[in-house]
């Protein structure tokens, strides 16, 4: 990473499920139209994904179901262990590949430098503890052990995501899907992380709520200037949020570029299909 403004750099990230054979590489991918190696049955979820994410930039990931979008963000968030490749985080362990760090260190990086918003609030929130406690959990992961400060910060974050103060000590399971999603956003932002990962944040919400959540994300991003990786199958969301976009198919990047460019002048046949089917 020579460029000072690069926050995250990924090099040849790969993720497979299965035994792997020599033919996996040539017999899967967008040209073959499959992720599954016909010889050994290995699922090649991701192959050779490389990208750089700059400070304050929003990177979009689009692609159909099973193209590897969520797998990629889960590998970056250390929910999954990538089987291949390297990941660098600015200011982290002297430019070491963070994917090879011990789990205890990965946990520290995740707690302090990253936030994640999952498609399904059940993955990102615990429903049996209060909304405030969900946000507090992220702060406690970063060793903030001052009760009054935790409480104040959680209140402030929930207010900034438009959760009424009265719901701070309510359980997320009694709140609406849109509210749960906003609590997840508050939790993800708790430690002011330089990187926030958004995995299909608006997919489960109705259209009016979608618009409000997207506005909120845009506003918060403008205020705080963090970098984001936004996963969506919806070109509308990508158009609204992302500066640059990667188009994924069968675990590979088939096209990359400025979002406007991809939307106006898609090059790869799959991107063309994607753009035309949604516009």
């Amino acid at each position: 990473m020579h460029d000072e403004t690069v926050l995250v750099a990924a090099r040849n990230i790969g993720k497979t499920w299965g035994p792997e054979c020599e033919e996996c590489r040539v017999r899967t991918g967008p040209e073959q139209g499959t992720n599954i190696c016909p010889r050994c049955g290995t699922v090649v979820a991701l192959r050779d994904i490389s990208f750089e994410l700059h400070e304050g930039e929003i990177l979009g990931l689009v692609g159909e179901s099973g193209s590897g979008k969520s797998t990629l963000v889960q590998c970056i968030y250390f929910d999954l262990d990538a089987t291949d490749g390297r990941l660098f985080f600015r200011g982290c362990e002297d430019g070491e590949n963070v994917m090879e760090l011990p789990r205890i260190q990965k946990r520290r990086i995740r707690g302090r430098l990253m936030g994640m918003v999952y498609q399904n609030p059940l993955c990102g929130l615990r429903m049996d503890i209060t909304s405030g406690a969900n946000v507090a959990e992220k702060l406690l992961e970063a060793d903030v052990f001052h009760f009054a400060r935790i409480r104040a910060r959680a209140g402030e974050l929930l207010a900034s995501t438009e959760i009424p103060a009265a719901y701070m000590d309510a359980f997320p399971r009694v709140l609406s899907g849109g509210m749960q999603q906003r609590i997840q956003i508050a939790k993800a932002l708790a430690n002011n992380p330089p990187l926030v990962l958004l995995d299909e944040v608006t997919s489960g919400l109705d259209v009016s709520v979608q618009a409000r959540v997207l506005d909120l994300i845009r506003e918060l991003q403008r205020e705080r200037g963090m970098s984001m990786i936004v996963v969506s199958h919806d070109m509308g969301v990508i158009r609204l949020l992302a500066d640059r976009t990667l188009v994924l198919k069968n675990g590979c990047v088939v096209e990359r570029g400025l979002t406007d460019q991809i939307l106006e002048d898609p090059q790869h046949p799959y991107s063309q299909l994607l753009v035309h089917s949604t516009l």
């Binding site: 946990r107 707690g111 406690a133 406690l140 052990f145």
Partner: protein, 296 residues
């Protein structure tokens, strides 16, 4: 048939301290590992036992695997030498080893206890064996054993802290009265058996060795001497112990001990006595003077 009938020539049909030497070695191996990794729970293979699991069998196996003919044994149940669990375990150990027993904690080389430490801090060379019902402090926040082991390995204790946060939100302070989670040697979080908060300072940088045994779960863990044991506390909400201000023991008059509340059914009135009966007796007999208030 009693155990005495089964032991005609004392000790030749049953091994010394009941369990066989192989079983003792297995427990000792686990204990060595536990001492080397303070606060870490070490599983062990447990033999058949003469009493039901959950009735002090964890502590009992630790005691049985360590006791020698020259040991002086003290056994207490909630601080009391005469309580039923203590009496039964003492009878079993005396019948199978013939060791000398004592009520004076200062004389004991080996002290097995259910849920209390003696009021007089133990010293170098003494071993405290604690009976533990629930060894896993994270069990309340995570039901899966695989997951709690991972959490210990990664120092992933945010959820333990969240449970304290929720407690403070609901009750204004941490309401746990026993089994208060402690960080041992700045590493693992440990459940200090169900000791009351009052006793926790006696584990911190102690002179003596503390061994904790869970019979149902077949696990041991340890706090070696001179090891830090710190109750979890928020920076702005310091850990506090039980408050007995203005109360004193009706037997010995102590004002600086952990007091049990006892109801008199006839008068309906309540009074307090020292939980540590051995200490209370020593004060009554004038063998020790009442300490200056350690917890004041």
């Amino acid at each position: 048939m009693t155990l005495q009938d089964l032991l005609p020539a004392r000790g030749f049909q049953y091994n010394f301290a009941f369990i066989d030497e192989g079983a003792k070695r297995e427990v000792r191996r686990a204990l060595l590992k536990a001492v080397a990794l303070p606060g870490h729970q070490v599983p062990f293979a447990s033999p058949e036992l003469p009493i039901a699991r959950g009735w002090g069998t964890g502590g009992l196996q630790v005691t049985m695997s360590l006791i020698g003919p020259n040991d002086v044994l003290k056994i207490i149940d909630q601080g009391c030498d005469g309580s039923v669990n203590a009496v039964n375990l003492r009878k079993l150990l005396v019948a199978t080893t013939g060791v000398r027993t004592t009520f004076d904690s200062r004389e004991a080389t080996l002290m097995q206890s259910r849920h209390r430490l003696p009021e007089i801090p133990m010293t170098e060379g003494q071993i405290a064996v604690l009976q533990v019902p629930l060894p896993e402090p994270l069990r309340l926040v995570e039901p899966s054993e695989v997951e709690t082991r991972r959490m210990h390995a990664e120092g992933d204790y945010a959820r333990m802290w969240v449970s304290l946060y929720e407690d403070v939100v609901q009750n204004g302070s941490v309401s746990l009265s026993w089994g208060y989670p402690c960080r041992v040697n700045d590493s693992y979080i440990m459940s200090p058996s169900p000791l009351p908060r009052w006793d926790l300072h006696m584990l911190h940088q102690a002179e003596h060795l503390t061994l904790l045994g869970a019979g149902r779960e077949k696990r041991v863990y340890a706090v070696p001497p001179h090891t830090s044991v710190r109750p979890l506390e928020f920076d702005d909400l310091p850990f506090t112990v039980e408050n007995f201000a203005g109360l004193s023991c009706v037997r010995c008059g102590s004002t600086d001990t952990f007091l049990d509340e006892i109801y008199d059914e006839e008068t309906g009135k309540s009074f307090r006595v020292c939980s540590d009966s051995g200490y209370c007796d020593l004060v009554r007999e004038g063998k020790i003077r009442v300490r200056s208030a350690a917890h004041a």
